[in-house]
Symmetry: D2
């Protein structure tokens, strides 16, 4: 850490800072420049230090130099993490496809979708049982009944599934059924929930928050990793910007950058990332080319009857087309589609 | 709602939409323009309708015309809501000051601060017992012990207090001690938590999310109001923008606009809204002039020893100066400082 | 256009609006709903109308339904526009590569780069002679001398070039030498400059502004098209968001969306869009997969000695690798790399 | 400047950097920490240095410590700059009001407005003759004819005026008539124009760009100051954020912060900053309380007939009310309204 002194700082102020650093076991090296004086701080720096020092007299600001996250960093663990969900490996260098409806609506709907996903070569299902909705008056999911339907679809097709957990209270019931616990964008900094899903030991799909920087996102993953659960899958799903022509702005830059910074597997969600079904295919394929380990997409038997997110859902035909192109693109970029899952699995 | 048809839509597509609207009890009025055809939809529109219609063939987009929130709207309830916390009224036309440390650290710290707030004329205390922190390695609060210390300070000074609830699991314990349950910016769309705090019937201080539009924020309040709890206090605390010179960008425009759109009381948080103590006074006073019903500010006996948010905390002297200027400004704009609370209160 | 009336509007206010519409040759259809009354406006709507109506008593807001741009719209002209620069066609379904240094620095530098670009199969050169710099103390380009060096490189390699015009005063001199006039992001709404470059009749490369919505960007193109010059090439180069880990956020969603909305060719600039050379390849290839007609990238013989934008420039070896992968990806997505230009050209 | 080395850097890489720094007359101090090694660079650092060093092997990133702007900085010149326009001083500690229509439309309109502004106690006029419009199909101003009408209004009322210059070509004609040359938000980084208006020596009103950080904005002012013209007036007029309920987001934080960082006078534009006339008064008064030296507001005899920006213009009655409240608020915060201008002036 660098402590940047004000132009008018006094020697006593400088000495007070050096004493304080000494008290807390750190070492300060003053560097006197032409325009500015800075103190380089060496030692094991804790997150509050910046706040503490910035309020001392004579200090203008501080600059962190090392990344604030540790367990998620590729500097800590250079080899890529592979998360296993049943027989499916995420982050292994093969492209993984997770697909299903925004919300589970009925047995017919989820079974039909699961079969279509499986037939097209998909590896895992998604489907919401507990739905976060901006308005309290919107359809909020079938709850445990929805989880049972997802389990039924898994039994029939052998596809394991991811589903969202919205609060610490549902962690137990969701973990009882689901193979992957999903943390939605609106809960991306719900730290108690992150720790609670972490403690289940199950794979966690961690969506980036609408206003999360890459640092925020990796620090959020740290809450899960810190419980001893290494099975975190990051998910880029778009950030909020001034552009309103699309629902969110999928941050394509973040895909290769996060793969450089972290060893965790990363998938992209072009359905939420764009909000328009006609953009899901081009942006989904682009995400794979940029380095994503897979996609999570919304598929619905009849998008114009969907109870939520119909506008961004693919119908079965369009999903098959996406899978076909994914097969070709995956080969081209050296991350071929994972061979299809073949039997029922439980993690 | 307006349904905007594509330029190439067919008559059958138009008729399919009119039939669908009819099925669900709504009435569609086609309007054929020079460039475009639209269908005006009249009736009791539910939130999913937009999604449903946008996936039908021939539809380009839909436009909502009425606001999505109902209970929070001034159209529903023209007179301003006044929330009572002990003897303190928020939203009554008098300016209310809530002050205290970011986090409760010790008995000495919270008692000293409570006394200083009271002596300077403050009305309510704030203080974190459960702290959301971007990094899991930061100080995360004293938990229930912190709540007890806040209660002790209340006993001594008579100042009721607001404190954050981070998850549904803590609602009970926080509600046992606190006078106002605070929902932090990172939980602004944690819908299960909103309902749970709503059901306590206690006043709720609802911070705006870092990426929440005004519509999102008022819809979040709707989750609380919808439980039958009318005691919602909105809090503008800055949004995330491209500007990094300040921690957040306090949205001054939102203050008068939300007061026009909603009957709920609204306070501003210039500490988080700016992230710099030297900006708290000018931006806090500006917020009152713009129409806020009060402020919530961070005060610490010794900001440069604070375990969190020291950089944005006022010391006692600076808080007194703020109160003095607030007194004058409040008179000037016709929303004078509320007379100081005089005796211990419990809601 | 829809005019949304306030809940409290009077009949006289409604009639005043209908009269006004009538005066200006438009027709208003009132639609009385359960919650709201709206007036559907039919006729040839001009841009100011929205402003005019919104200030009339009884009006809450207006909603445009047709797009504000005309000449750039695919509704006006369904077939894709192909811009010819010498023998190179942009927007023809083949992928085009424009490459060169951020700034022209010397004869050696530009000749070496032009040769490397040509040898690797690039089609056009880029290079700055007049450089916009955030700070007045930065290197601002060689001016006309730089243009002459670019022309020299063109003579030797046969590669036509794009270069930025920063003000109406330089349009003449830049047009004298350059094959494509480039409008930078900071001038994306410098409307006088847009018209002036339009009037040269030369191809114009129009970068999206840092804060331009897609509508703003297409309206900016309209300033050029409106001069009778159809040769506009759009360039997505990233927008400004809260994320600071990358220089800008390349808006990958905008690529397929703008190709749907407009007939104009669109290229991507992954150098400015990311600001980091290690992200240029993955994000550049992703842009092609998302639908871009080509890329513009920064290449420098020795990026760590570049006078500007070194951090985002590729060296020759990395550029060759990009071209090789582009060749494969282009084939895969059905937009193969354009065969290399073979002889000197002037537009 | 701090150069942060990668974890894997070699000694040779470190030495290469130290040699390079030596070559260019700077001194590097290596500091070896537990986690990281950094080099503190001392000497007269030029803007490109960061780019240069970041591309060298072994370098992870660089961090600037001193501000990039010099002439605009309060460190360079601690006393506040006062800009004189005729008899009116901006930045003197008295509040200054600039008011007038968005666009000059006719002699009647501008004379009526100028009289109303003067009678209400306003100090300077604003009015657009050359209008930047997002769409080429909107009203774009009367050009020189508009300037003549503004001059006529000045003759009659004695109020000097500010008006926008859109390109270097109009600088001469605008400077011939106007007292203050205004640079609009869309030209905030049109660097050639900044220099050209600087060279006139006339006062320049520099609006912040929609996507300009505070650093960008102060660096833009540096282009003007660097021509030897010290008469720069900064204008906060809102930035572009994700919030669409208001036209822009007026950055209230920037007002006190820029007054701390720079000696230049700063005014606020609540008309563009909000886009809604009903927010102009509360946000305008708040801006003064936050520290602005004055306001620039849009006033129109009949806002619902304005050819541009009617929705955000005050009528005469509302402008008088704003002036009355400004008088009281100005006294309260110690920056009283400047006594009204009394006679015709030319700068």
């Amino acid at each position: 850490m660098m402590v940047i002194m004000t132009n008018e700082h006094s020697e006593e102020e400088m000495n007070a800072i050096l004493r304080r650093l000494d008290e807390i076991g750190l070492k300060g090296h003053p560097i006197v420049g032409v325009e500015r004086t800075v103190i380089a701080v060496v030692g094991s720096i804790y997150p509050e230090l910046s706040d503490e020092l910035e309020t001392m007299d004579g200090v203008e600001s501080t600059v962190r130099i090392s990344t604030p996250y540790k367990l998620a960093s590729r500097q800590t663990k250079p080899e890529s993490t592979v998360v296993k969900v049943g027989g499916v490996e995420i982050g292994s260098g093969k492209t993984v496809m997770i697909a299903g409806p925004c919300a589970v609506e009925s047995e017919e709907q989820i079974l039909a979708t699961a079969r279509a996903v499986k037939e097209a070569g998909g590896h895992l299902m998604r489907g919401g049982a507990f739905k976060p909705r901006t308005s309290p008056y919107s359809f909020r999911g079938l709850g445990e009944e929805g989880l049972k339907l997802l389990a039924l679809a898994r039994e029939e097709t052998g596809l394991a599934f991811a589903t969202e957990v919205m609060s610490v209270r549902e962690v137990e019931v969701v973990a009882k059924y689901a193979d992957i616990l999903q943390i939605g964008a609106r809960n991306a900094q719900n730290f108690m929930l992150l720790e609670e899903v972490g403690r289940t030991g199950k794979p966690v799909l961690l969506k980036r928050g609408l206003a999360s920087t890459i640092d925020d996102w990796l620090l959020a993953s740290e809450y899960i990793l810190n419980t001893g659960n290494p099975n975190v899958i990051l998910c880029e799903r778009g950030i909020r910007t001034f552009e309103t022509a699309t629902r969110n702005t999928l941050d394509i830059n973040a895909i290769p950058l996060v793969k450089q910074l972290s060893h965790l597997p990363l998938i992209a969600d072009p359905s939420h990332g764009t909000g328009k079904w006609s953009l899901v295919k081009p942006v989904g394929l682009a995400s794979i080319v940029a380095g994503a380990d897979g996609l999570i997409v919304e598929v619905h038997p009849s998008p114009d009857h969907a109870l939520s997110d119909g506008a961004q859902s693919l119908n079965f035909q369009r999903f098959r087309e996406l899978m076909e192109q994914m097969r070709v693109i995956g080969e081209t970029v050296g991350r071929p589609l994972l061979p299809a899952a073949t039997e029922p699995v439980r993690t």
